[in-house]
């Protein structure tokens, strides 16, 4: 009872990266308040799924294995989680801020009438005293997230409702094996006693899911373009530099919204969080939504014709100039110095 739960997302028999990251975080949180870490896996033909989960520190795995449960559908997954949570009364429940997690978590939170915070960038424990009543709370989950277009960082708490629910984007938390030979307890959920035909109202007719082709998260060098790059064609320079120095191309939300690049390359609060050795920000002004996703990069170069661009504050090298002048020179002098 009152443990920490992580919903584990599955695609093609594999636990999603974000779920492993959340298990890692969940293990640390569980240790801090001396609770257990419990994983929930809902799908079909789950076989030896435990092997993928226990190494990340789970004490218990709740498994719902049934042909009606894969691919993901909102209603049956909600119903199983709500029924489990009513019984187990978790202290905290974490979901990936993915297409699935952002569809599922709000529905669960509404059914349980509990609070939910989307897209958290940090989760820590802290205390709280209610101003009006003077009531004191120990070890509340501080759910920290950028809000209001990234202009503020808000700390959200749920003093009185449980579980304290949060979603977190892929790449925000670090993934770490806790103990590769760890074994825990598996509990099987009796799906047939929970689901009825009303839960199957939505039927999937077709499904085309691509394996993640673009994965800028694992790249040691990222060359990101913003709205200031100017056009889709100008992005070609960034791809060229990336190819030559061995990196990937990223982008700000503004560049993605303008149609210059694919959303899979978006860095920041509503994209991926990256920590490369080198981050080259081209024509990116540096809204907090963006910097939240890259400010832990080891070295940052900012190329911007505005010397006052906010991103320059966190840059190690500031190049004041036009992207289309600077990039070709970087290519030229890279080639010259590596000959």
């Amino acid at each position: 009872m009152n443990n920490i739960f992580v919903y584990c997302e599955i695609e093609d028999g594999h636990i999603a990266e974000v779920s492993l990251e959340l298990l890692t975080k969940g293990r640390k949180l569980a240790n801090e308040i001396d609770r257990k870490l419990e994983a929930i896996v809902i799908g079909h033909n789950l076989g030896d799924i435990e092997k993928q989960i226990f190494p990340y520190g789970a004490d218990v795995i709740h498994i719902a294995d049934n042909s009606r449960l894969y691919p993901y559908l909102t209603l049956p997954h909600t119903e199983i989680i709500v029924s489990l949570f009513k019984q187990e009364k978790p202290e905290i429940a974490l979901f990936g801020a993915t297409s699935v997690g952002r569809d599922l978590a709000p529905r669960v939170a509404s059914a349980l009438k509990c609070g939910l915070t989307a897209d958290c960038t940090s989760l820590v424990f802290g205390d709280h005293t209610e101003n009006k009543t003077g009531k004191e709370y120990k070890n509340l989950l501080y759910q920290i997230r950028p809000a209001f277009g990234g202009n503020i960082i808000a700390t959200i708490i749920n003093p009185d409702t449980r579980p304290q629910m949060a979603t977190v984007r892929e790449g925000v938390m670090k993934k770490e094996v806790f103990n590769s030979t760890r074994k825990g307890e598996s509990k099987h959920i009796n799906v047939d006693t929970i689901l009825n035909e009303n839960h199957m109202a939505v039927e999937i007719i077709e499904r085309h899911i691509e394996k993640q082709k673009i994965n800028i998260k694992n790249s040691q060098i990222i060359i990101s373009g913003g709205y200031g790059v100017g056009s889709k064609e100008n992005f070609d320079m960034l791809y060229e530099l990336a190819e030559i120095i061995g990196g990937e191309v990223g982008a700000s939300r503004a560049a993605v919204d303008a149609g210059f690049v694919d959303h899979a390359r978006q860095v920041g609060q509503t994209g991926v969080t990256v920590r490369p050795k080198l981050y080259i920000a081209c024509g990116i002004s540096g809204a907090v939504q963006h910097t939240a996703g890259m400010n832990e990069s080891a070295k940052i170069i900012s190329i911007n014709n505005d010397p006052k661009a906010p991103i320059n504050q966190i840059a190690d090298y500031v190049i004041t100039g036009n992207v289309e002048d600077v990039i070709p020179k970087m290519i030229k002098f890279y080639k010259k110095n590596t000959k």
Partner: protein, 289 residues
């Protein structure tokens, strides 16, 4: 029987232009200090509803929004683009509502309207939570289909919908009543229609009529479609315990303005000698190469 669609829309502060005075002491947003706009993805949602109306002649579209009295602006905006009318949920008792309390209020209003289909934008640019759509669907006890990109088919009480997911697409089938949320990859809304602009430019809520110097009595009697209904807590028969700050399980503990910590940086020009220096340094320190 007509096909009734309710579009959930929100007037949002334009978060791209946040000034110093935008936050109140309690951590909530001082919306009046910012330009207010029609939430972009809600316009995509309206377009999806209008496309259904293009196909089904007896479809009716009503905008439902919750906010301060001036949020009636977006109802008029939607009427200029083809919506048949709208309802504004407004009451001081709703202030401070989080997504759960908001979806409670909206779901009560939707129940009064009894639509076949509820269409909402995926998320609003002020909070980016994407929670109110699914939470409303749960409170209404109807299925949800999120991230809709296109409605491929609509046949009697059944819709076939293409969803845009992170790494692909899904085509799903579901019967009404149903709530869908519309993704930004769906087409944006058609522009205002000049005839509709003329027809609806005098559409007003009761609170707006009080402010008008001109006498609208005769016009409102002759053209009842100009009336935008306002709904209070009492009109929705809502339980105040589930509304506003007291009905919101999430509390804002702290708000920090973002200040980027300044680093000691090297400032360079695009001149050859600076670029040569930079690339040499990156290579020598093994950052690249």
């Amino acid at each position: 029987m007509s096909f009734k669609i309710v579009v959930l829309a929100k007037q949002v502060p334009d978060t791209r232009n946040v000034g110093k005075d935008a936050m109140k002491a309690d951590g909530t947003v001082n919306r009046s200090a910012l330009p207010a706009i029609f939430n972009p993805e809600d316009l995509h949602a309206l377009e999806q509803a209008l496309r259904i109306k293009d196909r089904i002649s007896d479809a009716e579209i009503y905008i439902l929004t919750m906010g301060p009295p001036r949020a009636a602006e977006i109802i008029r905006e939607a009427m200029y683009r083809g919506a048949d009318g709208g309802y504004l949920i407004t009451d001081r008792k709703f202030a401070g509502s989080d997504t759960l309390a908001t979806s409670y209020a909206i779901s009560l209003a939707v129940k009064k309207l009894q639509p076949h289909l509820v269409v909402a934008g995926r998320q609003a640019i002020d909070g980016d939570t994407a929670q109110v759509g699914p939470q409303c669907a749960e409170k209404l006890n109807i299925p949800q289909v999120t991230y809709c990109e296109e409605i491929l088919e609509i046949k009697e009480d059944q819709l076939i919908i293409k969803r845009r997911l992170e790494r692909g697409i899904e085509i799903v089938k579901c019967k009404t009543p149903l709530l869908i949320t519309v993704h930004s990859s769906a087409p944006t809304c058609r522009p205002r229609n000049a005839k509709l602009l003329m027809k609806y430019k005098h559409a007003r809520t009761v609170s707006e009529l009080v402010e008008e110097t001109k006498d609208y009595t005769e016009m409102m009697t002759n053209k009842p479609y100009l009336r935008i209904d306002e709904w209070s807590v009492a009109d929705l028969d809502a339980n105040v315990d589930f509304l506003g700050l007291s009905g919101s399980p999430t509390k804002v503990k702290k708000i920090e303005n973002v200040v980027l910590a300044r680093k000691d940086s090297v400032t360079l020009t695009p001149e050859d000698k600076d670029m040569d220096f930079l690339m040499k340094e990156l290579i020598d320190s093994h950052v690249i190469g």
